[in-house]
Symmetry: D3
Subunit: 129 residues, 6 copies
């Protein structure tokens, strides 16, 4: 990987969730620098910067996967906030979570719904959609 | 639930994957009639027939969730085949699976890739996209 | 689904855990009304109101499943409290969790034991079995 | 653990599923003797021989947990067959699995239903309930 | 199992994490005495006291498994602290977690990294490696 | 990432399991070239080529994680075979799996034991340790 991958990755992270990206950098850059670099370069600079799927769809499948996997509240906060930043509507996020009730079970969906409410309320306070 | 939910659900199952829907009916209708009816009425007639998300997006988040959950080869066969039927491209299906490598781990993604190849080959033989 | 399913579902939720049902309604009714309605109508009014298994057994298999699935503290609180409400003993709840150590691993069982202790202490304060 | 635990465990395994117990012994006794002994002594001689829950309930919560966990076809075969041996009805086994659709998701329930059908057919051929 | 197993198990628990072992005993001994005894006798006195793998390796595979399983913060605290007590370095613990990003997905690794930082900071305050 | 990462990754894959690496290349190179390249470059050329942990330890934690995750038979075949290639003993592999019974539950351990037996028999036929 290269400096270009890192730059592209950081740009994409910021595009999805600038405050979350900065908080992630502050927590990880010194403590686990290699995992931090791999996250920016590989996850965001490579995988999440690929073509074929638009960023809205990438965020919705991420919300779906995080809901299904469980134990991902922190990641759901980042990506529900991020999904709304890149143009998904609140209704779309709730629909994805609701469909997960059927595929991953009600507890998984209800856990994610609670994160969604928390994020929507935070955005209300910030005056964001 | 009502007869209308059942009809709408069956129509949606057929729209996604007619052969798969018929095979499901043949396996389940007599053996587990209540689970069969709930699947058609509730899963397909209610959840998967809701508005807000188009059917392509619903199939892509389903492929994402099934890849992340694991132990879902049979369901992945139905929904990868179904995703292509409702207008997703093979490239989009592979992109979803590839992104799951990052969220659910490489083994989950590699298992799903193997199902995708199997389905793509079956569709090649059937002359389908 | 119908108004009857909803009524039967709400009655069943209240039978299992009245305070939990009301808290659930207060959190969900406005925020995610469709998921709220599906939960009451389909999960409680349809699945958990079916015959064949008595309510005690339904609550014990639910505690088993929630323990095995993980990341279900909120749902375990509802259903451990509910299991005791519908006639399971504390010893039965602990036995189910202990058996899960073997099937789902020690961490899953220890997490659920901590929820059980929390619920038992709350019931002690309320003067309940 | 002691010889007594082992004897009690083997007796319990045989009570649940004699053919399955013998097949397990044949596969494991030489290849992984310590895991074999721990399974008989600890899992069956200790945990599954405890009081408080009757054996029918223990088998139903095991079917619930195995359905929820996924990737457990081999264990589901043993315990669905075993549940029926110790007095559970086929309807009860199907009810447990159906309830898991709600807690662990449809794919988990459908996978377990397929194992149940396979076991029921095998028992039909053997002339068993 | 015997008194010897219990003594060996307790000694091993203390060797791995004395404060954690005492906290576990205080929480469990009265509330769930059988699960407490099984944990000490079977998990620590039997499985974790076996030869073939040294204790450092046992702790590293435990950290790997807990990271992969998810919803194991409490157990990760015990075993990351324990891994360092029995001679693993902080770098080794971080490497194990980082490798889990690939096998279990980024969310699992990031959750475990957060526990590792918390434990490392606690040890800094205690003047431990 | 660069050609160097790819070369280092391929060398590491071959070091772990040459036949498995070639079979993986044959299945993936044309069908999913980007996932193939990421696997070689990132997983093997970056993560699994890092220092701090020796290759034996990396393979043992991988066997632990794959056992715990479930639905990973194909990956367990690759890595149990690989663990033995890089110097782990059969006893060490079995010990890792056995410890997983405690952390991930008996079904996970028994599934992995069955893969281990299959791989050990294949190596017996090949005259390998």
């Amino acid at each position: 990987m290269s400096e270009d991958d890192f730059k592209r990755g950081w740009k994409r992270m910021v595009e999805i969730n600038e405050l979350g990206a900065e908080a992630f950098r502050d927590r990880m850059e010194d403590f686990a620098p290699d995992l931090y670099r791999d996250t920016v370069e590989f996850v965001y600079g490579n995988v999440l910067s690929r073509p074929v799927l638009d960023l809205k769809t990438r965020e919705l499948i991420t919300v779906a996967a995080l809901t299904a996997l469980g134990d991902t509240r922190s990641q759901l906060r980042f990506h529900i906030y991020g999904a709304l930043n890149v143009g998904c509507t609140r209704e779309e996020v709730l629909e994805v979570i609701m469909q997960m009730g059927v595929y991953a079970g009600w507890p998984a969906a209800l856990n994610a719904i609670n994160v969604a409410r928390e994020i929507f309320e935070a955005r209300d306070e910030e005056g964001l959609d």
